[in-house]
Amino acid sequence: MDALVVVLNLVKHYAGHAAVRGVSFEVRGGEAFGLLGPNGAGKTTTIGMLACLLEPTSGDALIAGASTRRDPMAVRRAIGVVPQEIALYPTLTARENLRFWARMYEVADGEAGRRIEEVLDIVGLRDRAGERIDTYSGGMKRRINIAVGLLHRPKLLMLDEPTVGVDPQSRTNILETVKQLNREGLTVLYTSHYMEEVEFLCDRIAIMDLGQIIAMGTHEELRLQVGERDLISIATHAARIGTVLPASLRALPGVDDVRMREDRLEVLTTTGRRLLPQIVTQFVTHDVPILAIEVREPNLESLFLHLTGKGLRD
């Protein structure tokens, strides 16, 4: 599919300080693309430039074929932006907020009412739409915050850390909503410093640090960049292990190593969970009981650690 977003070497300097240093990536239509990185990595500045809020120091971006520098109005019509803040009017009701933002997004008067009900249904707040925003919980505010970005049916929805400060239940609800929108064909550009969110939502991920993209690809591609293996840890009775079972496990295809750790066996593999049935079969064959199994896969956190020497939340 053609690229809906083409980012070309974007640079942003603030008073001599480089917030974004030559970021380039593409987002294909219908794709969910994630920008992952710790606070201060340059994600919000990048989104700000794509949303035509900030003028790039150099570089450009094309969204739906329009340049953010040369045709910002066309870009603004193509995008829906969900900012980090609850950018709503607290003393107005949710419906009044949506009505106002629909007008700002140039939704025709005749169409606006229907769109408002539609986005209220998407975020599941139709019943509470007549209440003032300042009476809402944090999670509900976040959901209306997202609803605003959907009013004009944008080609690209940009969400900048949309789950900051919400309870786990609301967070799950928000992620499910965005996932569903993406399944229905909406292109999503999602920034977060929560690895799990980006892993859950995004087809492709760019990891940012210090204003640069330090790794980019699908989840699998990124894992390969780390070069780390999965660790399958099986708790058992140490006295029953003997020497035959470890040798049989080592002989399985994809197993790199087998280690004894007190009352558990650790199998190092590059094939992950797919090896589990064969490992269990070996335990049954050799009549060794399995008390518990844990699979530890390398994740984006370990990739970030591998690339930068620091954690995502440092």
Binding site: P83, T91, L92, R103, M104, Y105
Partner: protein
Amino acid sequence: MSRKALFIAAKDLSIRVRDRRAAVVLLVMPMVLIFILGLVFNPLWRGTAEIQRIPVVVVDQDQGEIARLLVEQVLGTGAIGRMLRVDHTGQPAAARDMVMRGRRAAGLVIPRGFSQAVMTGRPARLTLFTDPAQSIRAGIIHSIVNRFGAEVVKRQVAITVAAETLIIERIMVPSRVGAAIPGWLKDVEQFTGRQAVAIAEERGSGPRFPAAIDYYAVGMGVMYLLFGVSMASQSILVERREGTLARLRTTPTESADIVGGKLLATFLTGLAQFSLLVLFTRIFYGVQWGSPLLLIMMIGATALAAAGLGTFLAALARTPEVVESLAPAIILPMSFLGGAMFPIYVMPPWLEHVSRLTFNRWAMDGFLAIMAGAETPAAIWQPLLALFAMSLVFLTVGTWRLRFR
């Protein structure tokens, strides 16, 4: 003005009408202040009552004809009578106590035998207690009593000379002289009533000052209008802080529409605020605002200039809190200088010139002219022009700064 600017203004107004704190500050506070200031300073504004009536207590132990003349004719009638508030007590000690406690500016004791002494040409004595804390008012009473004493002496001299001459020349016997003295006194009164040099006084028409409550309706109205628009102008800074301004800028909305919408909302807030104040003061305080047409013109010009000033303030500040602290620092001195608290005519000439630099002065000049009976726009062209000029300057600088920030 684009539709989006109208939508932004409508949204701002919708938010503002729900703000109870603003309603209290912008409508209830000026109404309360107008009432208090109108009540307190009313005497200063009322025609002849340039000074509040002076409280005087009198102890008349004499009850004679001259004492009655002093109390009823001198202290109780005419211009002096309107200036004083006289009451009576029986005991000199009580009168003294009232004065020493500051409850009366002066206490006058007319001792027993006073009239008889005056009539027979013997030395007479009056006692006056005065409150040092009310030295000016007490001084006025002292002058009045002194003057009365001097008049009495004049009459005594005239009567004594006449009586002695008649007795020495044996024209009348002393017993008949005594009986004739009251008649002579009346003749002397008639004679001294005629002035040797007549003074023709013409009181200039001068500026027609409205009643205190009318004056403060204008003064407080203009001052709180400035506070109102300064609050309204903060909305753009609040939106910047809350992130809604940034979100607005991610929509296909021109920054001219955003600034225009905000400005329109600020102007309409000022317009509505002042119009409501005019209505409330008319209904509750009976303030006579004058020609409705000219009033509409003045309210419009004033609200526009105030909106310009508010926009300028918002452009100077980075946060709503800065405007909150900056606004009183600018509005209060300007209001004092512009005559919101004290009328311009009590200011020294140089300060009166300085006051022409303030927004309040021109607004108040316009409103007071309408109150004084102006009927055509020509009567208020100067304030209108000055306010439009101020709007132009403040709006140009303010919007330019806001758009390019």
